[in-house]
């Protein structure tokens, strides 16, 4: 009898929607959408090593050495459980840790700095709602001089332009949303742009592809020129973001497959359209 009542209660209780919702008044649900759009899960989870979600430890091989992502679960010792909202905002906005130490730009704060205050706050609310993991952080394995943290303030002066990103009033809302998704949350330019010898993005060629991307991959040009998305329709861009399908019917592999799985497939169709509108509006770069 009791089991039957419980079963009935279970049937009557509305099933909570699992996915994040950009229109939700609940900061946690809204924050989950920001989390997906910002693609936090991939880098902060050592999926191949069997690590807990967001417990860090994923190796990121770069030309500067191997970075190991930190634990961003609410664990008070190894995670960010003791971080205040202001600490968290400072990390994203100005690239500094809780003790004020400058952070390596493998954490893409040069993009996240452009996030709105509300998105930063909601992202923190969502992360705080996740299960804590006591996994200890692993030190990075970098070659000199890239591992010298004391040089980072110089790097930040050269390459960090603090946000948030302001809307361009001369452009439609959809374009502005697309720019925000590409330049702030999606941090697309972090992989799709070439970098100089110091690791700063070559802003003149932003999103024009990177012959030496993460994990040694060549990363394609997203500008509308002949070497980029010239032959792509707007629908092609949306389909690539939704399920990873390329115009020839092939499906993306490698790190972009992961981005589609964890991030762009979870966006609303309107947001994917906005991204396509923005990318198609960029000047082409050969």
């Amino acid at each position: 009898m009791r089991a039957a009542v419980l079963l009935l209660l279970g049937l009557l209780t509305p099933v909570a929607a699992r996915a994040g919702d950009p229109a939700s008044p609940d900061p946690v649900r809204r924050g989950e959408y920001v989390f997906d759009a910002a693609g936090c899960l991939g880098c902060h989870t050592n999926e191949k090593g069997g690590g807990a979600p967001l417990a860090g430890g994923r190796p990121l091989k770069t030309p500067f050495g191997t970075f190991y992502s930190p634990n961003i679960t609410p664990d008070p010792v190894h995670g960010i459980g003791r971080w205040t909202d202001a600490d968290f905002a400072r990390a994203l906005r100005s690239g500094h840790g809780r003790e004020g130490e400058p952070l390596f730009p493998a954490f893409p704060y040069t993009s996240y700095t452009r996030m709105s205050d509300r998105d930063v706050a909601d992202l923190k609310a969502y992360l705080s709602s996740r299960p804590a993991s006591p996994a200890a952080n692993r030190p990075h394995d970098l070659s000199a001089p890239f591992g010298w943290r004391f040089l980072l303030p110089v790097w930040q002066t050269l390459y960090l332009e603090e946000g948030p990103l302001k809307d361009d009033p001369a452009r439609p809302a959809e374009w502005n949303r697309g720019r925000y998704l590409v330049e702030a949350l999606g941090h697309c330019g972090e992989c799709h742009s070439p970098r100089g010898w110091m690791g700063g993005v070559d802003s003149a060629r932003a999103l024009a592809g990177n012959p030496q991307g993460p994990e040694g991959d060549k990363v394609p040009n997203l500008r509308p020129g002949p070497k980029g998305l010239a032959d792509w329709s707007q629908g092609d861009v949306e389909a690539a973001l939704e399920m990873g399908m390329l115009p020839d019917g092939d499906f993306v592999g490698g790190s972009m497959a992961e981005v589609v799985r964890n991030s762009t497939s979870k966006l609303t169709p309107a947001d994917r359209r906005a991204i396509a509108v923005y990318l198609k509006s960029l000047p082409s770069v050969p």
């Binding site: 629908g235 990873g244 020839d248 019917g249 499906f251 592999g253 490698g254 790190s255 799985r261 497939s265």
Partner: protein, 158 residues
């Protein structure tokens, strides 16, 4: 006369059968040929997916085209994994895009291949309904099945 002709036909048929049965085996395919065959096989998926994608994007094609494309994908999904991924065909052999890790994780890769078939079956069923929403959902699921292996075991193309 008819009797003799039948005899002759029979004799030819028997000798042809014997010849086929005892003919020397075809020379083993080179790694280049095997990679090429695999790439051609994968293009059957891509071609089908492209047709369905175009229909869903409103860029052309009919429901019949989608049904044919789904059948083509379903047929390709029947391919034999071991024959498609023989040892010695990892990159960089013959511009192969398959990472050597595939052969170090054969059970995983094989399971990913096996998972394509039920997804392709569902795509065929969805195509029969002609409903865009159902086709889109089934295509997305089939795409996920393709992408699972591409994510782990395929070298970036660009």
């Amino acid at each position: 006369m008819i009797h003799r002709t039948l005899h002759a036909v029979f004799a030819v048929a028997v000798s042809a059968g014997l010849f086929l049965a005892f003919a020397p085996a075809a020379p083993a395919a080179t790694p280049e040929e095997l990679v090429k065959a695999r790439q051609q096989h994968m293009k059957k998926f891509g071609g089908g997916m492209q047709t369905i994608g175009k229909f869903l994007k409103g860029e052309g094609g009919t429901v019949e085209d989608v049904q044919k494309a789904a059948a083509q994908i379903d047929e390709a999904a029947k391919g034999d994994f071991t024959a498609l991924f023989p040892p010695g065909t990892a990159a960089p052999v013959a511009e192969s895009a398959a990472k050597p890790e595939l052969w170090q994780n054969l059970p995983k890769a094989q399971q990913q291949w096996v998972d394509v078939k039920p997804a392709a079956d569902k795509l065929v069923t969805a195509a029969m309904t002609g409903e865009k929403a159902q086709i889109a959902q089934a295509q997305q699921a089939a795409g996920k099945a393709c992408a699972a292996c591409h994510e782990d075991f395929r070298i970036k193309k660009n």
